[in-house]
């Protein structure tokens, strides 16, 4: 049931400028002994110019990185991705088994149902904010 939970958020820029839509933003709940989590979100760019996300941060985690799970010769690898660009009208999915947010060192015990704030920094310095729901 929780999987159906859909978070629809318009990402609000701190100042006027680029705008992105975020959908299905969630963090996979894991036992507290594990110090990393994967986060997923579908981002669309309704604007008429490309938007590049260069960094992410969250008050709930020490660090946030972009990672991609890649299969090569039957081996899964995690590759760090420095930035992602969303073309005008395009959709970018951070999704299980592919591109994902790598959320490192939770600052507190997260439990299903918690909402976590995520900030995305764009290449022009703008910060966009969204909420991610923790669930299994």
């Amino acid at each position: 049931m929780l999987r159906l939970l859909l978070l629809l958020a318009i990402l609000l820029p701190a100042s006027a400028g680029a705008e992105l839509d975020a959908d299905e933003a969630w963090i996979r709940h894991l036992p507290p002994a594990v110090p990393v989590r994967a986060g997923y979100v579908v981002i669309t760019n309704p604007s008429s110019k490309p938007v590049t996300i260069v960094a992410a941060a969250s008050p709930a985690f020490a660090r946030v990185e972009f990672h991609r799970s890649v299969e090569r010769d039957g081996q899964m690898q995690m590759q760090r991705v420095e930035s992602v660009t969303i073309e005008p009208g395009a959709r970018l999915a951070f999704e299980p088994g592919g591109l994902h947010l790598m959320l490192i060192e939770p600052r507190s015990k997260l439990k299903p149902g918690d909402l976590v704030e995520l900030e995305l920094r764009l290449d022009d310095g703008q910060i966009l904010r969204l909420e991610m729901a923790v669930h299994k």
Binding site: L30, P32, A33, P35, S69, Q75, M78, H100
Partner: protein
């Protein structure tokens, strides 16, 4: 030849026919929707010494008597490992026949023994299914098993920062038969419904 002896011959022929078709059906290799089942070509495993999440030693002979599914990973892997363990938990949950479920064991084998203590594995595997077993061992003890199964695993960017390194690893699920032999393999992505049907076929006809 009288009528009754002809009947007996006919019945005997029928019985032979039934026996032959039953025998052929039993011998027919199990066909899977996903993955490969080796059947008669199952390969013996070398001896190995691992540690289970309850701190007990775990050896090749512990695979005897049931069908085992092995997935190799590490708890600091936030994407593929939880996806695969959840798929295994969902697959086992979708098997309708309790006898088939009881014949199966699921093992998560850590290829990152420095960070994954048995206690850590206990908490991790139980999160997905309390019946799953976590296994670990120093790498030199793990190698005989992973080599025999063709499971590659390599550390990358390993530093002293425990959160900073990744371990490349196979995404396959390995099948071990009740004689402790390497009996099959399922490649990713893993669909729980397909796995549930394939595992039922293997346990019933393998």
């Amino acid at each position: 030849m009288n009528k009754s002896s002809l009947t007996i011959i006919a019945l005997a022929a029928l019985a032979v026919g039934f026996a032959a078709s039953w025998y052929l059906a039993e011998q027919r290799p199990v066909e899977l929707e996903a993955g490969h089942y080796f059947g008669e070509q199952a390969r013996a495993l070398p001896a190995f010494e691992l540690v289970a999440h309850d701190q007990r030693p775990f050896a090749r002979e512990d695979f005897n008597g049931h069908w085992s599914l092995l997935f190799f990973g590490y708890t600091h892997c936030p994407d593929i490992c939880p996806i695969t363990l959840q798929a295994l938990a969902d697959a086992v949950g979708q098997i309708g026949d309790a006898d088939v479920r009881d014949a199966l064991r699921v093992y998560f084998v850590s290829i990152d023994p420095e960070r994954d203590s048995p206690a850590q594995l206990a908490e991790y595997v139980a999160y997905f299914n309390p019946g799953f077993t976590g296994l670990t061992a120093p790498l030199e003890n793990l190698r005989p098993l992973t080599r025999a199964l063709g499971i590659a695993h390599d550390f990358r960017n390993k530093t002293d920062d425990a959160t900073a390194y990744d371990v490349d690893h196979s995404s396959a699920i390995v099948l071990i038969n009740p004689n402790a032999e390497f009996a099959g393999i399922f490649g990713a992505p893993h669909d729980p419904a397909v796995l549930a049907r394939d595992l039922t076929r293997i346990v019933e006809h393998g």
